[in-house]
């Protein structure tokens, strides 16, 4: 019975995602009815070319990116929280974010490779930065991948890259606004190319991580117990850490740093579906993360129209009170008091 209920939640989340995406497609500077949105998407009947252009060229890719980034960040959040056995862990805790920020800022200020890579310049640079930060963390805590040493290495690497970032910001005056907007995270001017980059990473990544959900469940018992049960803890931890960090770095390189999604969505889903079984937790966090970011992005577009506010502001303003209410209402353990 419990199983049916848990699968039912999946249906609920899918439906909600579908609705949220439809609404997000219909609202904006030009209002389009939801019926027209679907007519355009499915190619039924005559739709006016302006509407088609808005939907296909501007809104749909943007909504897709928001969904994929939101899902990826939430998924990575689940993995980090479970592996580091820390409820405060989020996808940025191991310095992936500051690494990619440094990469992006170098790309923006120097302009290197702008001609060759075109729109890909910032994503490529920030991805390299993220990988660099991750390598530093893994190198620093290479011996046994203990939780403590990972967290400490993350703090060290984060601090180091933050210092470089501050330095770069202080020497570049001309591009400050652009950098600022990137740092706050945004989905403006994202097109199908970005979707095509995110799509395989998100889906393959999610699937691979999901295959590790049994191990993630057993990790809740603690490292020693997991070893005695037969899990190759260090190898599994390394693989999952690298996967989560790759997913995060791709997401960040496409959208900039969007906070809060990776931190609260996993907790939100745990409380909602009342389980910490990662077979459900992983895909459902992906779906809810997608819903949350698509909704937040839609709000960020229309709230102060025609001005767009950074989506990170919306995720925090929306997420913090929502989460606070949920936390108040539940006495259930988050699986972290170990």
């Amino acid at each position: 019975m419990g199983q049916i209920k848990k699968i039912g939640w999946g249906g609920c989340f899918l439906l909600t995602l579908f609705l949220t995406m439809s609404i997000a497609l219909s609202i904006g500077s030009t209002s389009i009815t939801i019926t027209d949105v679907w007519k355009t998407l499915l190619g039924f009947g005559q739709s006016d070319p302006a509407t088609t252009a808005i939907i296909w060229k501007i809104r749909f890719p943007r909504v897709c990116i928001a969904a994929l980034v939101g899902g990826s960040l939430a998924l990575a959040g689940v993995i980090y929280q479970s592996l580091l056995r820390n409820p405060l862990a989020d996808p940025y805790i191991l310095g992936v974010s500051s690494g990619s920020a440094v990469g992006a800022v170098i790309a923006i200020t120097s302009g290197w490779g702008a001609v060759v890579f075109q729109g890909w310049q910032i994503p490529i640079f920030s991805f390299c930065g993220a990988i660099m930060a991750l390598s530093c963390v893994l190198f620093l805590s290479r011996s046994r991948l203990q939780v403590q040493s990972l967290l400490l290495s993350g703090v060290v690497v984060n601090a180091f890259f933050a210092a470089i970032l501050t330095f770069l910001l202080s020497v570049s005056q001309t591009e400050l606004a652009r950098i600022q907007f990137w740092l706050m995270g945004s989905f403006t001017l994202r097109d199908w190319d970005h979707v095509l980059l995110m799509l395989p990473v998100s889906f393959i990544g999610t699937f691979l991580v999901w295959l590790g959900s049994r191990e993630l469940n057993i990790f809740l018992l603690g490292t020693q117990s997991a070893i005695h049960i037969g899990v190759s803890v260090y190898r599994t931890r390394l693989v999952l850490l690298i996967l989560a960090s790759l997913i995060t770095s791709i997401a960040v390189s496409v959208s900039g740093m969007i906070g809060f999604v990776g931190l609260i969505i996993p907790h939100f889903v745990r409380i909602l579906i009342r389980t910490s079984d990662h077979r459900y937790l992983l895909p459902y966090s992906f779906l809810v993360g997608a819903i949350f970011l698509v909704g937040s992005d839609a709000i960020s577009r229309v709230l102060f129209e025609p001005r767009e506010i950074p989506v990170g502001v919306v995720t925090a303003c929306l997420g913090a009170p929502l989460f606070a209410v949920l936390l108040q209402k539940t006495t259930r353990s988050l699986g972290d008091r170990t």
Binding site: G222, V231, R274
Partner: protein
């Protein structure tokens, strides 16, 4: 021979914890490793399971060196029960016991086979946790949690069960229940049990043979009635015990003399 260890030596820095220990375990035995704190009991246990590598010497389990077992293969042979109870986690009892089947599961879907479920049901019935199967582990009492720990270990279908002071936090009722349960399981499944115990009386009642460790060496080894002597206990634990024979089981039991340093005449 299930386990044969020869010349096991292990140092942490300059301190020698284990000093050329010879250790062997036969089929279906209940072995107790005894000795005061710091005599190397727990280190010996973690060497036996391969968590710590020995500096010198060899440890063979079923004729194969322990370092050559994969983590998974080891889990099919050896289960480990410690004094630490299961952490507070949101999982149900059944979900946790199912984790004990990990080593037997294939890495593709469906992970969980019918046989796995049969064994989980069996150990839940055996450990009397079947009524708790849908309860959250965080809401159970210490004794109930320990029963779940046993079930988790038994679900591994181990041929060897290692116990590291598993009853430290339990009251006397649960201590007895715990040992009775394991004894019953041993008789039923021919499991070999190796336990590290503080309670000499329990060790004397339940184990067939024991090793008495003193400063990293085996001071004495053999049947419990031969090992638990006033002289041995005096030397290792540095107390002056009163040894009596258990009136029914005919094994040695230890009484404390209770001659407190007198303060009334001072």
């Amino acid at each position: 021979m299930i386990i044969r260890g020869e010349g096991i030596t292990k140092s942490y820095g300059a301190r020698k914890i284990l000093d050329s220990i010879d250790f062997y375990v036969k089929d279906n035995e209940w072995i107790s490793i005894l000795g005061p704190n710091g005599s190397g009991k727990s280190t010996l246990l973690s060497c036996l399971i391969g968590s710590s590598k020995v500096d010198y010497g060899t440890i063979q389990v079923f004729g194969k060196d322990i370092s050559r077992y994969t983590v998974k293969d080891k889990a099919k042979v050896i289960a480990f029960l410690t004094q630490e109870s299961l952490p507070d986690m949101p999982n149900t009892v059944e979900e946790i016991i199912q984790m004990g089947r990990y080593a037997y599961q294939q890495s593709y879907m469906p992970w969980y086979s019918k046989k796995d479920q049969e064994i989980v049901e069996e150990v839940m019935v055996f450990t009397n946790t079947i009524g708790l199967r849908n309860s959250q582990i965080g809401l159970l009492s210490g004794g109930e949690r320990q029963r779940v720990s046993i079930a988790l270990a038994l679900a591994q279908e181990p041929q060897i069960l290692l116990l590291d002071e598993p009853t430290t936090y339990l009251d006397v009722y649960y201590q007895l229940a715990f040992f009775d349960l394991l004894k019953e399981w041993q008789n039923k499944n021919n499991t070999t049990i190796i336990s590290v115990l503080h309670d000499l009386n329990l060790a004397s009642l339940y184990s067939d043979r024991c090793f008495l460790l003193h400063k990293g060496k085996v001071l004495d080894e053999g049947k419990v009635s031969d090992i638990l002597t006033t002289e041995n206990i005096n030397k290792t634990y540095q107390i002056d015990p009163l040894l009596i024979q258990h009136p029914i089981q005919k094994v040695p039991q230890i009484l404390l003399k209770g001659d407190f340093p007198s303060t009334t005449h001072r």
